[in-house]
């Protein structure tokens, strides 16, 4: 198809570089420099979508970020699908494939529109709150039908092949927007030597100047843009970011910039390139030079394709060499709109009329239009568009000075395009993100940014300054202000010279009355994307939704992907009128990030998949992999869970690991245990305060188990701490709790007891820890060390320095299995070597590696707790039956002592840790099974506790479990019951949690 709307002028497209693309299965051609929208318009494509609620045909309205209608699905392959691409912001590339997102069987002939037409009347705002209620049972069916209509585009079904990046930036000044104001500010700031970032959402700098025929310093505006951009590029401290949207403004001048690096080249980023990048910017100062968005006027059927924003029409003509129609009717409330008719005329197409809502328009542009012979109908408005898939005519009527009543008779003007300009709304979005409310400015007839705590300056259109000379002036001023705020010397800059233009006064008009009341007039759209009409807003107000937030929520105004950039102010004006208030009284809703939507991929960057969270490995990880370990995630650690041999089930592997350890010797990689080095003359006193048990008498060379509680008396961590020297201790913690414990120790030291001379440091990663456990562990260790391992010389709960396989080591004779056991610590870089030497020496003892699961079974056979599994933040040491671990007589009231004395912690019938044996020994209770005393009680059944740990013990030949049971310590020998999901009940007898070697003889040999 030919590009019927393409003209030959000096726009910013390159006609020598044709680009082919596919829209709804048909092939089209555009040029380099086109957006998808300009290329579609060039090809005479009118309908680009169907509206959300009423399925009305919709065309392109705007030329930038404010576009509500041209929302397309882009992507040639499944993996590269992108939903909801705004055609006005997508640069055309060769091979681009896109579709409209709604319409069945297609967007041109949408059968849903019949429903929209017939049912539209039944769909006032909030209609779904008023129906689909009866009968209750049918709601899921109704909802399924509603859901069928949900959504615009679609998500890909497979993972994203592209990569995304994040980069942290620190700058003196971030300038948002590279239009005339932003560029003038940047020039001043850059010359001062400040570190500047200037970002603009468009593919090239210039903003409004790219579609302007104004002159700056006696040359065409785009030449000035080129010259400034070149100057900026030459500055080493200036970073220019085109195709980069500042999408969020957060506290303390933190802003995010979404840079689209390759979306203009292809669906998928070229090999080796990043598709999009998030710049996380901390800026000392920010200049918002975000400009303004033109408001369309609200009139009957103002959504028929061919109804466009006046400035957008000018942009298409100037920048893209596209005239999006043949016969134009322009409606305007201001002089600026005249530019569009003049441009249209200059492009050689017919301007049917300029319809000016003002009674007596005056100004140089008005004169210019009249001189060109364009018909100007003043004191009038377009009250209705005719046509369905394209405008065929405009109905024009006289309108009174206040703009609220029609006067005289109507006339019908044949036209295919109705451009409207209702004035401009400053793009205040970013200024609101940190909670600042915009304030109404009558002179601007718009909201401008309110007071803020951010270090933020404003320039140009965002402040309601629109004429080019003033915009450049305010940009320069903001730039110089920033330079001064930053403490740089004022640079030499001159204000670019522009012929000042005098424009006539604009009329504050938003909603064009119709000859029928609004409720009966043809639909007058306020928010195109969410199908909100003026009548809908009136209904909402009539029903008592009077706050602007209520109106927004009840009608869905502003909830679209454009966040109401074209519609919000009109909606507020209509609300104000309906409530008989002023716009400032009605107030505004507040804008949230993002300014325009950004991909989740860009926000996540590379911190997903493998890099979602760091993985921590021990020094022996390679060995575990080679020996078939299966791993368990413990905090960030990858810990061996068990080591199945070929053909072995998990239970068989555990049985083998457990029996090998009790019968001969097993080995555990315990490197992940938290290790904190504690030094200082007051170290011992400190331990006394943070552990529940006593530390005053722990001699050098001795180890002791300790419990840690919070101030509430609840157990939160445990471990063995050893006395390395009189003022030097090594504390161990649970694998997952290490960082928390260290911060907690520091908290108490720094804030409560700074007088104690003590120092803490994490040494978890410095040491590799391997625990050999079992009756043959002494024999094994003696093969690799020359110290005397006899019980007399190296007793249980002793530690000694030694060499193991030649490596310097600390050996701790402590036991979590109840067996004779040595915990060998060597520097991490010796870890794998010593581990392998142990296996060489251990072959004759069938040295068996075991993982966390076997560790759990072996310790449960001994009734040792695991903090975080057998405790849950509501368990005191007394509840665990660990009174022996509470030193009540310590002079200092240790952390947890007062907490565990509270009334509720001392009441009868608390849940207490006990052992359980199932009546049928082979039945293993489920961890998390809930206990009851009376299995025949009705629902809700009184629960008395739950199973915290449960295993089959191959060593004992029966199942074992630990549980917390109400009053459990006094119920030994009684039965508790576990009702199962299948209706069965498991009975178990309460016993001591120490199932094996209750006297502790095996560890003392």
């Amino acid at each position: 198809m030919a590009q019927i709307n393409r003209i030959n002028n000096s726009g910013r497209i390159d006609p020598t570089q044709p680009l082919n693309f596919t829209y709804n299965g048909k092939s089209y051609q555009g040029f380099k420099g086109d957006t998808l929208a300009s290329a579609l318009l060039a090809n005479g494509v009118d309908v680009v979508g169907r509206s959300f609620k009423y399925s009305r045909p919709r065309g392109i309205l705007a030329a930038g970020a404010e576009e509500p209608n041209a929302i397309l699905q882009v992507g040639a392959t499944e993996a590269t699908q992108v939903p909801n691409v705004r055609a006005t912001q997508q640069e055309l590339f060769n091979g681009l494939v896109c579709q409209s997102v709604n319409g069945w069987p297609n967007v041109e002939t949408d059968l849903m529109s019949l429903v929209g037409k017939a049912g539209g009347k039944m769909m006032p705002p909030g209609f779904y709150y008023k129906t689909f209620m009866y009968p209750q049972s049918l709601w899921p069916t109704y909802e399924n039908v509603i859901r069928k209509a949900a959504g615009l585009g679609r998500s890909p079904k497979v993972g994203d092949p592209d990569t995304y990046d994040k980069v942290n930036q620190h700058c003196d000044l971030l300038i948002v927007g590279a239009g005339p104001a932003g560029l003038a500010a940047a020039q001043a700031a850059a010359r001062s030597g400040a570190r500047v970032i200037i970002a603009d959402e468009q593919n090239e700098f210039g903003g409004s100047l790219l579609s302007s025929n104004e002159m700056i310093d006696g040359q065409p505006a785009d030449s000035w843009v080129k010259q400034v951009a070149e100057e900026l590029e030459a500055q080493p401290e200036v970073m220019l970011l085109p195709r980069s949207t500042v999408n969020g403004y957060h506290d303390h001048n933190f802003l995010t910039i979404h840079q689209r690096c390759t979306d203009h080249l292809a669906d998928r980023a070229p090999s080796g390139q990043v598709r999009q990048r998030m710049h996380r910017v901390r800026a000392k100062w920010v200049i918002l030079a975000t400009g303004a968005h033109e408001r369309p006027l609200v009139f009957g059927n103002n959504d028929v394709p061919g109804c466009m924003l006046a400035s957008a029409v000018s942009t298409y003509i100037h920048r893209y060499s596209v005239v999006p129609g043949r016969r134009l009717v322009l409606m305007t409330t201001n002089d600026h709109g005249y530019k569009t008719a003049i441009d249209w005329h200059a492009a050689g197409r017919e301007v049917v009329a300029i319809v000016d809502t003002r009674q007596k328009p005056k100004g140089y542009r008005v004169d210019q239009a009249r001189e060109l012979g364009i018909t100007v109908i003043s004191g009038s408005a377009v009250i209705e568009a005719k046509g369905t898939k394209r405008v065929t005519a405009a109905i024009v009527s006289g309108i009174n000075e206040a703009g609220d009543k029609l006067t005289g008779s109507t006339q019908e003007l044949s036209a295919d395009t109705i451009a409207s300009s209702g004035g401009w709304s400053p793009a205040v979005h970013l200024s609101c993100h940190t909670g600042s409310r915009p304030v109404w400015n009558d002179a601007v007839a718009g909201f401008v940014p309110g007071a803020t705590k951010q270090k933020q300056l404003l320039a140009g259109g965002i402040n309601g300054v629109y004429s080019l000379d003033k915009v450049l002036g305010s940009g320069l001023e903001a730039g110089l202000q920033a330079v001064s705020n930053l403490g740089f010397a004022a640079p030499a800059v001159e204000l670019p010279q522009v012929e000042p233009a005098t424009e006539g006064r604009s009329m504050a008009l938003y909603h064009i009355p119709h000859s029928k009341p609004t409720s009966q007039a043809p639909k007058q759209f306020v928010d195109y994307q969410t199908d909100v009409t003026a009548a809908g807003i009136e209904v909402a107000c009539r029903e008592g939704f009077e706050s602007i937030e209520h109106v927004k929520r009840y009608t869905a105004m502003g909830f679209g992907t454009d966040q109401g950039k074209t519609g919000n102010i009109n909606g507020m004006a209509i609300t104000a009128k309906a409530l008989n208030k002023t716009i400032p009284e009605t107030g505004t809703t507040i804008f949230r990030p993002n300014y325009t939507p950004i991909t989740f991929g860009a926000i996540a960057g590379r911190d997903c998949g493998e890099l979602f969270d760091p993985k921590r490995y021990t020094a022996m990880h390679k060995w575990h992999l080679e020996n078939g370990a299966r791993f368990e995630d413990v905090g960030q650690w990858k810990r061996p869970w068990y080591y199945p041999k070929a053909g072995e089930t998990m239970q068989l592997a555990l049985d083998r690991e457990c029996t090998a350890t009790r019968d001969s010797v097993g080995i555990l990689d315990a490197s992940t245990l938290g290790k904190i080095d504690i030094q200082g003359p007051d170290a011992r006193e400190f331990l006394n305060r943070v552990y529940s048990n006593a530390w005053a008498k722990l001699a050098v060379g001795k180890c002791r188990y300790g419990l840690m509680c919070g101030e509430d008396g609840m157990v939160f961590d445990d471990g063995v701490t050893s006395c390395l020297a009189d003022n030097h201790f090594l504390m161990t913690t649970t694998s997952g709790g290490a960082a928390r414990v260290l911060e907690w120790l520091e908290l108490y030291h720094q804030t409560e007891w700074p007088e104690l001379e003590v120092f803490f440091n994490t040494v978890t990663d410095h040491w590799s820890t391997m625990t050999i456990s079992g009756p043959n562990s002494r024999k094994l260790l003696s093969k690799l060390t020359d110290i005397d391992l006899s019980n007399e010389n190296f007793a249980y709960m002793d530690w000694q320095e030694a060499k193991v396989a030649g490596a310097p080591a600390r050996i701790f004779r402590i036991s979590f299995t109840g067996e004779l056991s040595y915990e060998i610590n060597v520097q991490a870089n010796y870890g794998l070597y010593v581990w392998e030497k142990l296996f060489e020496a251990g072959a004759e003892f069938n040295l068996t590696p075991y993982g966390t699961e076997t560790m759990h079974v072996l310790r449960a056979e001994k009734g040792f707790i695991i903090a975080g599994q057998d405790t849950d933040g509501s368990v005191t040491p007394e509840d665990l039956g660990m009174n022996w671990c509470i030193a009540r007589k310590k002079p200092f009231s240790f952390i947890g002592k007062r907490g565990m004395a509270r009334e509720d912690c001392q009441r009868e019938n608390r849940k207490q840790l006990v052992g359980l044996r199932t009546k049928q020994p082979e039945v293993v209770l489920e961890e998390g099974a809930q206990a009851v005393f009376d299995p025949n009680a009705g629902i809700p059944m009184p629960m008395v506790g739950h199973v915290t740990s449960s295993y089959y013990s191959a060593n004992l030949g029966h199942s074992i479990a630990m549980a917390v049971i109400k009053g459990g310590l006094g119920r030994t020998g009684e039965s508790v019951y576990f009702p199962q999901a299948d209706g069965g009940v498991i009975e178990a007898e309460i016993c001591s949690p120490v199932f094996l070697d209750p006297k502790g003889e095996r560890q003392n040999v």
Partner: protein, 417 residues
Amino acid sequence: MQRYSGFGLLKHSLSHHENWQRAWRNPKPKKHYDVIIIGGGGHGLATAYYLAKEHNITNVAVIEKGYLGGGNTARNTTIVRSNYLWDEAAHLYEHAMNLWEGLSQDLNYNVMFSQRGVLNLGHTLQDMRDIQRRVNANRLNGIDGEVLDTQQVQEIVPLMDCSANTRYPVLGASWQPRAGVARHDAVAWGYARGADSYGVDLIQQTEVVDLIIEDGAITGVKTDRHGIISAGRVGSVVAGNSGVMAKKAGFELPLESHPLQALVSEPIKPVLDTVVMSNHVHGYVSQSDKGDLVIGAGIDGYNGYGQRGSYGTIEHTVQAIIELFPMFSRVRMNRQWGGIVDTCPDACPIISETPVENLFFNCGWGTGGFKATPGSGHVFAATLAKGKAHPLAKPFSMYRFHDGALIDEHGAAGVAH
């Protein structure tokens, strides 16, 4: 009250929707009410509704400093579930669930309660132990739920990456089929309309600037726009601002107000039919009837009343969502926002008498208030009507923080809201 129905819609469409009644009046406040409820969010409005409906107390005012339902009611991710671990919490939330199930019909207002099921994913062995424990407790408390393995989770959410290749593979989940989502604004509006129909005065844009307390008992409130309004009893239901209100009454609460953020994608065609929550990777996602992916973020650690949090929290949440759903990488985030959540140390609410006679507080719902709205209003109405705690509310007294009888959903359940 004008009843809503499909037929009514048709009838009104014939008169161009010009004759709809107001959903609620905009009354001038009286000098005295039997009960004043401070805070016109979902919980406050539900309280007023049940006071009138269940207790025949209709001389009631709800005083709201902004607009009805404009606080956390309007800002949450609308998840409704009742699968709490501890009996006290489970009974309270299940009470709410039972009310949810007939709420649209009761209110004659479609709150779009959609029982599409909630999955709480487990990613570690301890997660799975906690899930077993909770589901077993739920079952014995009469609350629906089951433990699913990875394969069963995959069948319910075909799009989710349930492979072993992720950083924290999905090991299983708890599944509550009766859980789901509801249309948050409609809940506030439905209750408001219902309360209004019984004669409750809804006073908007009016701030309670002080509490009038004489001899240790409250006698009224002082407002910015309508002066002093006296009351027999006063209920404070002001969520994030509860600490501020308690200060006016002269006491402190065991609360901290934190930012909690949420975000939505652009609307996309339905791909996710259920609610997926992962406490371990910190991502909560469902898809609304409009097509938006509705995503809840983690709580920010610092106190904040700014209705906004830190960008790092958003980043982390989005990473979690992509970890679970890698295909959403090319979908775009439309908007983000924040609420103020008043959190208790044990992640359970306070529904309580206070040191001031006739002054009652309902607060501390933290990140989990929306789902409780009907139940919270129902038991608080009974509490205000009788002047003493409803049996279901009793364990939630603020004095539990004195004797230590906490209901530690935080420490034990391992489930965020």
